[in-house]
């Protein structure tokens, strides 16, 4: 089909620029698409033209569409058109050109029709969820995030799978619901959390996930220890960092994708570590000042090949790995004005590594032969490579070498480091060296009391069904002390109750007897064993003489942690009471602590409150090894109520200590008066779900979590978090009595 006047007439569009490019676009489309495809294409362009959004969308549509349609099917034209039409009816119609621009990238990365449709849905969702809604009027303003998002899409798709992109978007939408500025930064990839989430969702092998394996690799195969310092490849566009070794350790990319020829990411890390370790083992630094930059490049190639040769002698399998990762530069026709120095050196490097290289370049062949005969002769040094390197450069010199236009294709050997430790400089050079810049640290607030660095805990996000990593900062404090006599007064007030409790305690104290069998000498004859021995004996076998048994008392091995919710609501005085919940809790906790001390179980008391996720405070009242004495009482005496209840982090923290206790049974008692909530959490379900997950985590650690709730309306949520393991104390007056009783019932 040729460009006929008829088809031309079909594009009834009056924009001059559209008309000027239409012929070329149409010719392109006719090459790529079928006849029906071409007519759909032209109709589409007309429809966009009539939307009245200017010439820009039409131009983009004309340019991009043929390629996209040829890649994933021609019916996509109709779908894109429909989407554009819908979009034109929203306040976001300005973003249409930007949207059309992303389609090429989306088609290239997603490759399937199904995924492409999902991508369109995702754009629609993003647009809807980030558009400000004015009550009663629906969406009247354009989303501020959409243009930034559409701009980032090509980059994001190169880093993430569609699923990862969805998670990234969801996080952005949920993460800053009431903060349009930060949300906009997020979608423009400007904010730290947006990069962090991107990092988490990236496809490939993350270094942090495999650090232990890599440490073992270094230690096992190379007998080395080194810090592995990851750097990110995602944000350095101008200069791609190269792995390097310095005093801080081995710097390496934070993530490696599997290569197209089937090398796993973890093995790419191993290839890199093997190369670096080989340098550390066999390379001696040499003076750099005597050599030109080309000579140095060439010497480095020989030295890389030498250490790899030596390493392969020990681990022949590395050769296979390295050869798979090393680029295979093809012999190319040299163009005038282009420097092929890198290309030639990479060919040389390939030739040194791979005996079946098949190159015909005479100098490369000559030097490869020289290298191999030198290596075969044994005991080589870095200095021997200097000779080879210098001569190679002078013999293979080409007039175009110093040209500024360098041929780069297929010359990047990404498992090799930058060899910076191979060179010593007489004077500091002016070469730019890529270094990781130290992160900016926040200035410390001088006035605040010195405190431990925060412990970071994840938090479960039920909307996205995954953990927000390092989300909550928890600070530990020793609770300030007051007057211990106050607690003694409280205990005196409950002396009748204490007497009652004492009776129960005496009954509960460990007195169970356990049989110890198989004793040669014991207190009683163990009939089972005695009979067995007799039978053995009668049948001529050697009888077991250990036919007695004895008894011992069973020890009670329980570790208990009591976690107090110290949020502001604890200060309330419930209806019909004369004392606040706080005072009643103090009484209850004191009695319980006394009771547990009597039982001799290992027992700790902690309290918590929170002021946003950045500040969860955890107070220690009593440690496991501390005795129930004046110091602990003094701390309990000043117990106070403030702030909110972020329960998940506190549960995880108390569980962290409890899980390290050596005890048969571990019990975590939570005393709270309301549901988990915090001022930075608008969704009431969020922290409840997080606490539920935290309880489940503790269960996996073998910790039995039990909640004592003072909120009469607690049934609505407490079962959600703790399952059946909770008690609601309606009559708060009876708390001092119920708390120790509950404990004893639980541990009976």
């Amino acid at each position: 089909m040729t460009v006929t006047a008829e088809t031309r007439r079909k594009l009834s569009c009056n924009f001059a620029r559209v008309q000027s490019v239409f012929d070329d676009c149409l010719a392109h489309a006719q090459m790529k698409l079928s006849d029906s495809g071409v007519s759909a294409y032209i109709e589409g362009a007309e429809t966009i033209c009539k939307m009245g959004r200017g010439e820009e969308p039409v131009l983009v549509f004309l340019e991009e569409m043929p390629l996209i349609a040829s890649q994933i099917g021609e019916d996509v034209i109709a779908e894109v058109l429909e989407f554009t039409r819908k979009m034109a009816r929203t306040p976001n119609s300005k973003a249409i050109p930007a949207f059309l621009q992303t389609l090429t990238a989306a088609a290239r990365h997603l490759e399937s029709r199904q995924m492409f449709s999902e991508y369109l849905q995702l754009v629609w969702q993003t647009m809807e969820q980030t558009s400000p809604i004015v009550q009663g009027m629906g969406t009247v303003y354009a989303s501020e995030c959409l243009p930034g998002f559409l701009n980032s899409v090509p980059f994001l798709l190169s880093q993430l799978s569609l699923g990862g992109l969805k998670n990234w978007v969801t996080y952005g939408v949920k993460g800053h619901p009431n903060d349009p500025d930060r949300q906009r930064d997020y979608f423009m990839l400007q904010s730290a959390d947006s990069r962090a989430v991107l990092q988490r969702e990236r496809h490939g092998t993350l270094m942090t996930d495999h650090q232990h394996k890599l440490d073992l690799y270094l230690r096992g195969l190379w007998d080395q220890e080194a810090m592995l310092v990851p750097y990110s490849l995602a944000f350095d566009h101008l200069r791609k960092p190269i792995p390097y070794l310095d005093d801080n350790g081995i710097h390496l990319p934070d993530v490696y994708d599997d290569t197209p020829n089937g090398i796993l990411g973890i093995n790419r890390y191993r290839a890199l570590l093997a190369h670096v370790s080989a340098h550390q083992r066999w390379t001696t630094p040499i003076m750099a000042d005597n050599f030109s930059p080309f000579q140095r490049l060439s010497i480095e190639v020989f030295e890389d090949a030498r250490v790899e040769w030596l390493a392969m002698r020990e681990y022949p399998g590395l050769g296979k790995l390295w050869r798979a990762l090393h680029p295979v530069p093809q012999q190319v026709e040299h163009e005038e004005g282009t420097s092929y120095i890198r290309h030639r050196l990479t060919m040389l490097s390939r030739a040194l590594l791979d005996p079946e290289h098949g190159y015909t370049h005479p100098t490369i062949l000559k030097f490869a032969a020289q290298f191999h005969s030198l290596m075969a002769a044994g005991s080589t040094t870095t200095n021997a490579m200097v000779d080879l390197g210098v001569h190679f450069i002078s013999e293979s010199r080409h007039p175009g070498d110093s040209s500024a236009h360098v041929y780069f294709d297929g010359t990047e050997i990404d498992y090799r480091d930058d060899n910076r430790l191979m060179w010593r400089f007489f004077e500091d050079g002016d070469e730019e060296v890529y270094e990781e810049r130290p992160r900016k640290t926040m200035p410390e607030d001088e006035d605040e009391e010195p405190r431990m660095p925060p412990r970071l805990y994840p938090e479960w996000d039920y909307m996205t069904q995954h953990y927000n990593p390092d989300w909550v900062s928890l600070y530990e404090h020793l609770h300030p002390s007051g007057d211990a006599a106050y607690i003694d007064q409280l205990l005196a007030k409950h002396s009748d109750l204490a007497k009652k409790l004492k009776k129960i305690i005496d009954l509960l104290k460990p007195q169970q007897k356990v049989r110890v069998r198989y004793q040669e000498e014991g207190s009683e004859l163990d009939l089972d064993i005695a009979l067995r021995s007799l039978i053995d004996f009668k049948s001529g076998a050697q009888p077991d003489p250990r036919i007695n048994m004895s008894h011992k008392n069973d020890g009670r091995s329980i570790a208990v942690s009591l976690l107090l919710d110290l949020s502001a609501s604890l200060g309330d005085v419930p209806e019909g009471c004369t004392q606040s919940k706080l005072e009643l809790s103090q009484e209850g906790v004191s009695l319980m602590a006394w009771a547990v001390e009597q039982m001799g179980d290992s027992f700790a008391i902690g309290g918590f409150h929170s002021d946003t996720r950045h500040e969860v405070r955890y107070f220690h009242f009593k440690g496991y090894s501390e005795r129930w004495g004046d110091e602990v009482k003094a701390r309990l005496a000043t117990m106070s109520a403030a702030f909110s209840t972020r329960m998940g982090a506190a549960l995880r923290h108390a569980g962290h200590y409890l899980s390290h206790r050596q005890a048969d049974k571990k019990l975590l008692l939570v005393l709270t008066d309301g549901e988990p909530a915090d001022i930075d959490s608008k969704d009431p379900r969020h922290l409840i779900e997080d606490a539920r997950i935290a309880v489940r985590e503790l269960e996996q650690l073998g910790i039995y979590t039990y909640c004592i709730n003072l909120d009469p309306k607690a049934d609505a949520y407490v079962a959600n978090i703790f399952g059946k393991r909770y008690t609601v104390i309606d009559n708060i007056q009876r708390l001092p009595e119920r708390l120790p009783q509950l404990f004893m019932a639980l541990t009976k």
């Binding site: 394996k213 073992l216 690799y217 096992g220 681990y315």
Partner: protein, 271 residues
């Protein structure tokens, strides 16, 4: 006492292969000449038991081996009364047999026995060289050829499993370790009958595992396991499979370590 008992059954007829690492043969011979009790220390599978066998063969003495375990009582070592048709009958335990007949008594992995059990060897290991059988009312004077050798593995020392000082200080001790790479290669290729090349590669893998000791591995790969792997290879199993089966799977359940060792195998054995 059983009159039909023949100590000769404990003699070792064929020379057990043992490759000396340093001068341990000379040291042992000197210790035996003075009848000093000996303690052999070293990681599992490094050749302690083979060494004792070899020395017993070389000296032409019978060797009575007892594998110690937690349930072992003093009577299991010394002997006990049994009932028979005519009343009771005394049966010598392995330690008593060795002392009576002049054998080398080898208590393998002696820390596995409870400490109160090991105390019965004390009178045999000092100047007295006697063994009182209190139940029988007999004092056995050790035969001039009798020697006591114990072995233990300091690798998995724990609070619960250690020798008492009073036991330790009755022995001259020899420390064993895995042989050097060349020696071990020779041992593996001799034992399993493989070529030196394969043996050298196996030893290389063992080295990797030994570097990881204490970082998730309690013990490195022993020479014994290397011999197993070499035997499998000799029987036609592909080397990587043989290594996974004989070297890696037995020693670890940790996925990361397994992965690292599997990678080492791939790096060392190339088809």
């Amino acid at each position: 006492m059983n009159p039909s008992f023949d100590i000769k059954q404990y003699l070792i007829k064929n020379e057990p292969y043992y490759q000396a690492q340093t001068n341990e043969v000379v040291l042992y011979e000197a210790a035996y000449a003075a009848r000093l009790p000996l303690m052999l220390k070293g990681p599992t599978g490094c050749g302690k038991s083979r060494f004792v066998e070899h020395m017993a063969w070389k000296l032409g003495k019978p060797l009575i081996t007892v594998a110690c375990n937690e349930d072992m009582t003093a009577s299991d070592l010394v002997g006990r009364y049994l009932l028979d048709a005519n009343g009771t009958r005394w049966l010598d335990g392995p330690l008593t047999l060795a002392a009576r007949h002049g054998a080398i008594c080898y208590l393998d992995e002696v820390v596995e026995a409870r400490q109160d059990t090991t105390v019965v060897i004390h009178p045999l290991t000092d100047h007295r060289r006697t063994l009182p059988l209190d139940k029988k009312g007999e004092l056995v004077a050790a035969h001039p050829d009798f020697q006591l050798v114990i072995s233990y593995n300091p690798g998995y020392q724990s609070l619960m499993k250690d020798l008492k000082q009073s036991t330790k200080q009755r022995f001259a001790a020899m420390e064993f370790d895995y042989p050097t790479a060349d020696l071990e290669t020779a041992i593996v290729s001799k034992e399993a009958g493989t070529d030196a090349e394969t043996a050298a590669r196996l030893v290389k893998i063992a080295e990797v595992a030994r570097n990881l000791k204490g970082h998730g591995l309690d013990e490195g790969i022993s020479t014994r396991l290397l011999v197993y792997a070499a035997t499998l290879i000799k029987r036609g199993i592909a080397a990587p499979d043989a290594c996974r089966m004989a070297l890696v799977r037995p020693i670890t359940d940790d996925a990361d370590i397994r992965d690292t060792l599997d990678h080492a195998i791939d790096a060392v054995f190339v088809e």
